[in-house]
């Protein structure tokens, strides 16, 4: 055990820090869930790519830097510290990217990873359906193989970023006689194909952060199949592992929130009851623990280990932590805690975060589903 950064890692930190200082947009971008804001964020993805910062862990040939997970964590720390814009291509870079790296052919990697890095392809998720939420194996949208293409019919929902995205990835039933998790395939679908209708859904903040996608005889070339026909479930589980695990929420995000919460408390300390101290401590202690756990996991992975059902533990932990921190902030803010973003009040950012923190325990598999996974796969309890 040696948990200090190497001189090379410190240099890397300096490099990303000075690049961010020079390149972060001087004005805050509009919300990425508005049409204009989405394109602003796409531009930011292009800027990142021009600096070779899209995804530092990818091999150089796909637009990365060939670095390891520790450097990715350093990148994330600097990124959040600098308050750089949200990654509009999160679904692509952090979810589909690692999946392509593991299951994609060379052609698929070249095509999709490079376009992802340049921001030309912004990705939406296509998992849930009206009848398949927590029970994802109940997927009914079909993709029937005909000569050279899949003909897709059905409906996806809660597709994050789908309102303005270019592509979606998800699971489709390719064996019509199959049931549950058998007979599903992982297919990549351009959202501008004939027969696709995207219907935006307004979220709690009023913006269309997700959408329904309707497929009506949509023809997708067979080369857009990722992995083997019928192997979709296995691949989706790997993606879900990345999502819940290291990639979806890097610890820097929560450490940064905890630091801001501490400052908010110190600025308002004379108005707070002593009970707030306990919440401030909890915010720091838990965000710190989450960071330590992720570095520990990253070290284990670099030593040849893999991440499995353990990722469910982290997903519960950070989502509950995020909610607790925002609840605490609202208590400190007192009456300002009702002001919306349109009020231009500083407090409003906390309220936006507060609302979003209610989504954390739901997306990427509800926390209740995660608890079932923990109980069954880690503790050995029966189904």
């Amino acid at each position: 055990m040696k948990i200090n950064f190497t001189p090379e890692q410190d240099l890397f930190r300096q490099e990303i820090r000075s690049w961010l200082e020079q390149n972060i947009p001087s004005t805050t971008l509009l919300s990425l869930d508005t049409k204009e804001g989405f394109e602003q964020h796409r531009e930011w993805e292009k800027t990142l790519n021009a600096g070779n910062w899209s995804m530092v862990t990818w091999p150089k040939e796909y637009g990365g830097r060939g670095l390891d997970l520790i450097e990715w964590l350093i990148f994330e720390e600097e990124y959040y510290r600098a308050e750089a814009p949200l990654r509009v291509n999160q679904n692509g870079v952090f979810l589909l990217g690692p999946t392509l790296m593991e299951f994609g052919t060379h052609e698929q990697k070249s095509k999709f990873l490079n376009a992802m890095a340049t921001g030309d392809h912004i990705w939406a998720q296509g998992w849930s359906e009206p009848g398949a939420g927590s029970d994802m194996a109940a997927i009914r949208t079909t993709a029937v193989l005909e000569d050279g293409y899949y003909r897709i019919n059905g409906q996806k929902t809660w597709s994050s970023r789908a309102t303005y995205a270019d592509w979606t990835f998800g699971l489709f039933r390719t064996d019509l006689n199959s049931e549950r998790h058998r007979g599903l395939s992982f297919i990549l679908v351009p959202l501008d194909l004939p027969g696709i209708t995207v219907r935006p859904i307004a979220q709690l903040d009023g913006e269309p952060g997700f959408a329904e996608i309707y497929f009506d005889d949509v023809k997708v070339p067979v080369e857009n199949l990722l992995g083997g026909d019928g192997e979709g479930w296995k691949i989706a589980m790997a993606t879900a592992g990345f999502e819940r695990g290291l990639m979806l929420r890097s610890p820097a995000r929560f450490q940064q929130t905890a630091a801001k919460l501490l400052q908010l408390y110190l600025d308002n300390e004379s108005d707070c009851s002593p009970a707030m101290q306990a919440s401030i401590v909890e915010a720091w202690a838990q965000s710190e623990s989450y960071a330590l756990s992720i570095y520990h996991t990253a070290s284990k992975m670099l030593a040849g280990g893999s991440i499995g059902s353990e990722s469910s533990l982290g997903k519960i932990f950070w989502s509950e932590l995020d909610h607790m921190m925002h609840q605490t902030a609202l208590k400190i803010l007192g009456a300002s805690a009702e002001l919306s973003l349109d009020s231009k009040h500083d407090a409003a950012k906390w309220i936006k975060g507060f609302m979003f923190s209610y989504a954390g325990p739901i997306y990427a598999g509800t926390n209740e589903i995660q608890k079932n996974i923990i109980a069954e796969r880690l503790l050995g309890l029966p189904k």
Binding site: I3, F5, E77, A259, A291, S293, N372, L381
Partner: protein
């Protein structure tokens, strides 16, 4: 950046685990309760033979020269087994402090203690009733602004009954012929506080792991409504909550241990963090484990309480959650600019 253990550290931990699995069974612990003799000399000797008692003494003084990182792994196993003997205390609070004590105390300790199996107890305002005085050769006492070493033969004490029958406590009535000092008191007191917090944290995480393991086995075994109760989501979710709490306390313990090895100026904060997270994990482990066991969990017969009682004791001493919270809060206020995303390590 390499946040994992060495092969050697894992092997040593596994050896201790195997030894305790054989020698520190629930039956043997209950035997100690019945005879009011929880300190088992054979087991203590076995730990000495394994090298555990001198694990963190220097190789010159016949030890294995291990550091605190190796130590926490080992102590976690002592917690898991519910080990009554104070091997964690001996290594963390005596061996580890020895080089920091003034020469006259060091010499006296080395004279009376370095037989390999003799044991020295510790008293501190945060753990005022020293463990197993009857079996000790000496006693190190921390007071408000000084500390002293005394041979146990010069200590008059009375027994104090702990809620954990495996912890035979004493209350000091009077002492004579002590070697007293206030040299480097603040440094030493900080060192023993950090080590006390970290030691109890590692024991608590081992105990929490034992509680969740016992509960998982029970939930598989016990059937109601024609099914194992572990198939019900209400039970699954309670135990999953325990698993989450344990998972995120462990790396805090490992980081705190490394901070001691690395002389990190924030080691006091890191040790407080480790105890804070572990005490909370042990709290939910106790609550949800007894609930999983139902009425059986509330019996003397079920082994769960062997571990639960020890956890309650260790949550209370060497700084409970409230004390650690204070340490963390005061540090957050005084050094807010040196905490957070850039200062994890």
């Amino acid at each position: 950046m390499n946040f994992i253990f060495t092969e050697e550290q894992i092997q040593f931990k596994d050896a201790i685990k195997a030894f305790l699995n054989d020698e520190c069974t629930p039956e043997s612990i209950r035997g100690g309760w019945a005879s009011k003799q929880s300190f088992n000399q054979n087991r203590w000797k076995g730990l000495a033979d394994l090298g555990v008692l001198g694990s963190n003494l220097s190789e010159d003084s016949g030890g294995l020269g291990m550091d605190q990182v190796a130590l926490v792994l080992m102590v976690e196993e002592m917690g898991y087994a519910g080990l009554p003997e104070p091997a964690a205390e001996q290594t963390f609070l005596i061996n580890d402090l020895l080089p920091m004590l003034p020469p006259k105390i060091q010499e006296s300790i080395q004279e009376h203690h370095m037989s390999g199996t003799s044991y020295i107890s510790v008293a501190h305002p945060l753990a005022p009733n020293p463990l197993f005085l009857k079996e000790s050769t000496g006693l190190l006492i921390f007071e408000e602004d000084s500390y002293k070493f005394v041979l146990t033969s010069d200590v008059e004490f009375e027994e104090v009954v702990s809620n954990d029958p495996s912890r035979e406590l004493g209350r000091i009535i009077s002492i004579k012929n002590s070697i007293s000092s206030s040299e480097n008191f603040e440094l030493l007191n900080a060192a023993v506080l950090s080590r006390g917090a970290l030691m109890t944290a590692a024991l608590l995480i081992g105990l929490s792991q034992k509680m969740i393991d016992l509960s998982s086995v029970y939930a598989l075994d016990r059937t109601q409504f024609g099914k194992p109760i572990g198939s019900f989501q209400a039970v699954k979710h309670m135990l999953a909550d325990v698993a989450v709490a344990i998972e995120f306390a462990r790396p805090a313990i490992y980081r705190a241990a490394y901070s001691l090895v690395d002389n990190n100026p924030k080691s006091a904060l890191h040790c407080a963090h480790a105890k804070y997270m572990s005490a909370r994990a042990a709290e939910i482990a106790s609550k949800n484990s007894i609930q999983t066991h139902g009425a059986m969990g509330y019996t003397w017969e079920m082994d769960l309480h062997i571990y639960m009682r020890k956890a309650w004791s260790l949550m209370a001493c060497w700084g409970n959650e409230d004390k650690q919270q204070n340490i963390i809060f005061n540090t957050l206020k005084s050094s807010k600019d040196e905490l957070g995303v850039l200062y994890t390590f």
